[in-house]
Symmetry: C2
Subunit: 342 residues, 2 copies
DNA sequence: TTGAAAGCGTTACCAG
DNA sequence: CTGGTAACGCTTTCAA
């Protein structure tokens, strides 16, 4: 086992220069109290010895480690990776470090991560609620203990905790309208578990569009189980086996949409003429599939920037519980425009 | 500005119980020196007060913060995200925290990140070299200063620093063989800039397979420009316009492969019968396209596990400079198996 | 079985 | 302008 050599400390520099620790500390902070010549000597030596302040000593004193914790349901998904990237950059700009931990959509992991973050003494937490989470007491605890906390995308919204979300209802409304404008007569909605708020909101937008366009609302056309490729496939299979199958699908997630496309193709139906489809996903993946998928695109990087700013504001005392809504963009591609449109 | 309330300390507990700090400290460590009754009282109160040891105080004393730093060229790419996920889980299992920082493929960022990591006093660094990096002195410095350092995927290989890489040449060799076995007569290779070592290695494997199978090597069928969707599309368009076009394509990257598929389809050629194709990508995205893409899949999660273990071993004194090669897997799907195969 | 005290590296206050 | 010292929260001798 190699010995880790002790890092250079203020004392080392003070001793070498025959001065005191306080003087060295002040000099390195460029205090006006110290003579220029002394400052020069000290700074030069510090650079030479590669002095770095020991962050543990500083934090012990100041209790502001400039670290924030991010809870993400899943690092690998493009959507979340891109948000993290946005958070990261904003954090760095404000000289904060970031610790990322994935709940893998599990409630237990989520609780454990929060414990870990508290043990590390993060200054604040940026969280996206796991799919499994139905009880929010662990988050309420944080709030009650005045630990800076903000949410993104999937939020626990008690009106008090700042959060950044996308315009879920609006985007689903827009998307449904677009399907109707392009000849769809019976539009299905595939979502995730009903207790998740983005599911509720997007479904709400979908229903609202149907109402506003005087479409009949058919419960059979709404399938809400779980967010995933297989679920998208299964749901679509089932929908298309109905006596009166849909001729359009709004899938509220990328894996759902790709699963749905696969099911449609496996049933030898054509997209968009037999069934048009809209998903929620990023630009790249919409283009990889055939036909290119019309999709709602989230401004994920920006969401990351904003939610990080929200946390930093909170840390600095802004308790306004602001809610930021990031508009999403409907990118129309081939999958939604029926050619036999009237 | 709200006051952050001070966290419970050993002293608080000692005072409340009318005992001493040392006793509390020992009791919480379950020391045999303390009477059972005292331990009980202390532990109960500690739990009640939600006591957490202050990590800064502990680290100040012990100098082992159990944090490791990860340098990644880009968090958003599935490949890297999945490796990070693997590192993360192994780190967590060994009760290490992880700090992730993205170089965005920039040399300057990479150097700055290393500085930051040193300031935070990470116990070790796991790095993937940015595409821009040609000078490795910042890494050599770490090595010379005995800071635990390991590489993954894109490595600085001086034979001394442990690293985890994939079997680039082998996988391309395997993939090319597979195309040949499935009836391909003229196989093209689409890669990226020639100075990148994974490009060199994969091209080498491709050429070796051609030689071993007594295929003629045709420079026209090797296109190496840039890793990207548009490049894949353009290259394929050009290849298929040759007087003697290829009947198979090995694309050394996911976006290249998807671009190539799009080009083939736009030319109204069939996959795999007119042109078979193999890419490098993850399972999910291979399934999203049609036909499902035969692809070399990296065991990214495992790479993450392994590289993290390598670092932990290094931290624990193993200086053997081990190099681990993670085999990749050729997942045969529809895009490479010609039906009119002899 | 328990307590007192030194020390980790830094900052900030008080003296000079 | 500079130096001494207390304090941050904890672990670890040393003493009792």
């Amino acid at each position: 086992m190699t010995q880790k050599k002790r890092e250079v400390s203020l004392k080392d520099i003070a001793d070498e220069l025959g001065t005191s620790i306080s003087t060295v500390s002040r000099a390195l902070k460029n205090s006006t109290e110290i003579s220029e010549s002394m400052k020069d000597k000290i700074k030069t030596l510090a650079r030479e010895r590669n002095y770095r302040p020991n962050p543990f000593a500083v934090n012990l004193l100041k209790n502001s480690p400039r670290i924030i914790g991010i809870i993400v349901p899943d690092i690998v998904t493009h959507f979340f990776a891109s948000i993290i990237s946005g958070i990261n950059d904003t954090a760095r700009t404000n000289s904060y470090s970031v610790i990322i931990s994935s709940s893998n959509e599990s409630y237990d992991n989520e609780k454990r991560i929060i414990e870990d973050f508290l043990s590390i003494r993060v200054e604040g937490i940026i969280a996206c609620v796991s799919q499994q989470t139905k009880d929010f007491s662990h988050y309420e605890n944080l709030y009650n203990n005045n630990i800076p906390l903000v949410f993104y995308d999937r939020v626990f919204d008690n009106g008090l905790i700042p959060c950044v979300v996308s315009d879920n209802a609006d985007s689903a409304y827009m998307a449904t309208n677009h399907l109707i404008e392009n000849g769809a007569k019976r539009i299905a909605f595939i979502g995730g578990a009903n207790h998740i708020d983005i599911v509720k909101e997007r479904k709400h937008g979908y229903l609202q569009s149907l109402r506003d366009n005087n479409f009949k609302i058919e419960p059979k056309l709404v399938v809400c189980n779980h967010l995933g490729y297989n679920e998208g496939y299964a749901a679509t299979h089932k929908l298309l086996s109905l006596r009166q199958p849909p001729d359009a699908i709004l899938a509220m997630n990328d894996s759902l949409a790709f699963g749905a496309m696969k099911a449609i193709k496996d049933l030898r139906l054509s997209i968009p003429d037999d069934v048009s489809i809209i998903g929620y996903t990023d630009e790249q993946h919409s283009l990889y599939v055939e036909p290119a998928l019309t999709a709602v695109t989230h401004q994920t990087y920006k969401m990351g920037n904003e939610v990080c700013k929200l946390l930093l504001n909170y840390i600095n005392g802004d308790r306004s519980g602001k809610k930021i809504i990031i508009p999403s963009i409907l990118s129309v591609r081939d999958s939604s425009v029926k050619k036999n449109n009237i």
